[in-house]
Structures are given as structure tokens and as C-alpha cells.
Symmetry: C2
Subunit: 124 residues, 2 copies
């Protein structure tokens, strides 16, 4: 069913999640400056996303307006869950520990996590 969204497709989704419905040409303009795909490439990625059932479109005169069918949060949640399952045997603590070891956590991040933990503990 849910064929995976690829890297390039994800960049398109990121634009759609920011602004939609939106035309292919506008996605092309909106495109994160460093990646400079041709408009054709954007269109190909859009059709593939439509095939995969994660984007819908509606006619607007001669062109189409595209719109994401899945929420960003749903995607990130499932991607994060897959990663933690695959690499950390479903345990979140080791994941955090590795992230901290790497670049480290910012103070803001630490605070947020603490608050978050408080909340989670109260749900006991």
C-alpha cells in the first residue's frame, strides 16, 4: 500500500505541507534554493506522489492544484518509529543517548524534553 516516499519526493512534500493547494510551477519556485530541479522533475515527482496516494489534485482552469493527503506529523511519526524499531530495538532511551553523544542537545531541547517527560509521567 504505502509505497515509501523517497528523498526527492519528500522535498516536494515539504513544500506542500507549507502551502497548499499549490500549482506545480509554484512548487518549482518555492523550491529550497540549493535544490534546483527543472519544472519537469517537479511534475514527475508530483505524479509519483499521486500514484502513491499521498497527494491529490484538483483542476483549476488549465492547471492542477496539488494538496497533501497525509499530515506531516503522521509521516514523521511513522518514519521515527521505523527508525527506532530498526536501529534501537524500539527503545527510545538509547536513541536519545546517541543523539546527545553526537552533536549534543541544546539547552532548549533539554528543557523541552524535561517538560515532556513530566507530562508523560503524569499520564502514568
Amino acid at each position: 500500500m504505502r509505497k515509501d516516499i523517497t528523498e526527492a519526493e519528500l522535498d516536494v512534500m515539504d513544500v506542500l505541507w507549507l502551502e497548499s493547494p499549490i500549482a506545480a510551477s509554484d512548487i518549482h519556485l518555492q523550491q529550497d534554493s540549493q535544490k534546483k530541479w527543472s519544472i519537469q522533475t517537479v511534475k514527475t515527482l508530483l505524479s509519483r506522489l499521486v500514484e502513491k496516494g499521498v497527494v491529490a489534485y484538483e483542476r483549476d482552469g488549465k492547471r492542477f492544484l496539488y494538496r497533501p493527503l497525509i499530515k506531516r506529523g503522521d509521516y514523521t511519526q511513522s518514519a521515527a518509529t521505523r527508525l527506532v524499531d530498526k536501529l534501537f530495538d524500539g527503545r527510545v532511551a538509547p536513541l536519545i543517548s546517541q543523539l546527545a553523544e553526537g552533536r549534543g542537545l541544546s539547552d532548549d531541547d533539554l528543557e523541552d524534553i524535561e517538560r515532556l517527560l513530566e507530562g508523560l509521567k503524569h499520564e502514568h
Copy 2:
């Protein structure tokens, strides 16, 4: 340089991380039961890993023994960091929050995270 390790290749790496040096045929046997590749497939994946510079081999009589050149922790760390950068703008708190929202965190996990946080705070 570091061409990415693919899903299938990662399964082979997981065997190597458990036991190495090890021969191709033994990797084949060790293989997580549900995935039942042919021995040829295992060999192909091994050569690709060698090409990618993440696995080395040494002769042992007629066969070769393979050995990972990167540590599992290094791989998971960089994978986790890439994910958090790509999907959560480098913030760890939202990642944890999403993971909690999904399947939820086990009590064990919660405790571990708390202890971890204590430690991190002390490094201030």
C-alpha cells in the same frame, strides 16, 4: 565517499555486528529467519559493502572471513542525526514527543530517559 548502506545491506551488517569475522555461508545461516536470501544474494551484498568501504575481509583457506569496518553505534548515531535534522529541524524534543504519541514509551524507557536526562543536565 560514504555511499549509504541500504536496507538489505543493513541486515547483513547486523549479522556482522553480532559475530565477526564470519564467512558468507555462516551469515547466510545466521540470517534472521523471515528473510531467506539465497547465498548468492548474501555474497552480492557483501561485495557491495566491501566496495562501499564498510566491510573488510581476510582469507581463511579457501574462503573469506568478513568483518565490519564501522561500529554499529557510529552508524546508528549518524542515521539518527540525519533523521532528526531532516524531519525535526535538529530538535530532539519533538522527535521524542512523536514517538510517545505513537506507540508510547514503556515504563522502562521512561525511567532510562529520566536517568539519562539527569546525567546530561549535570554536564550542564
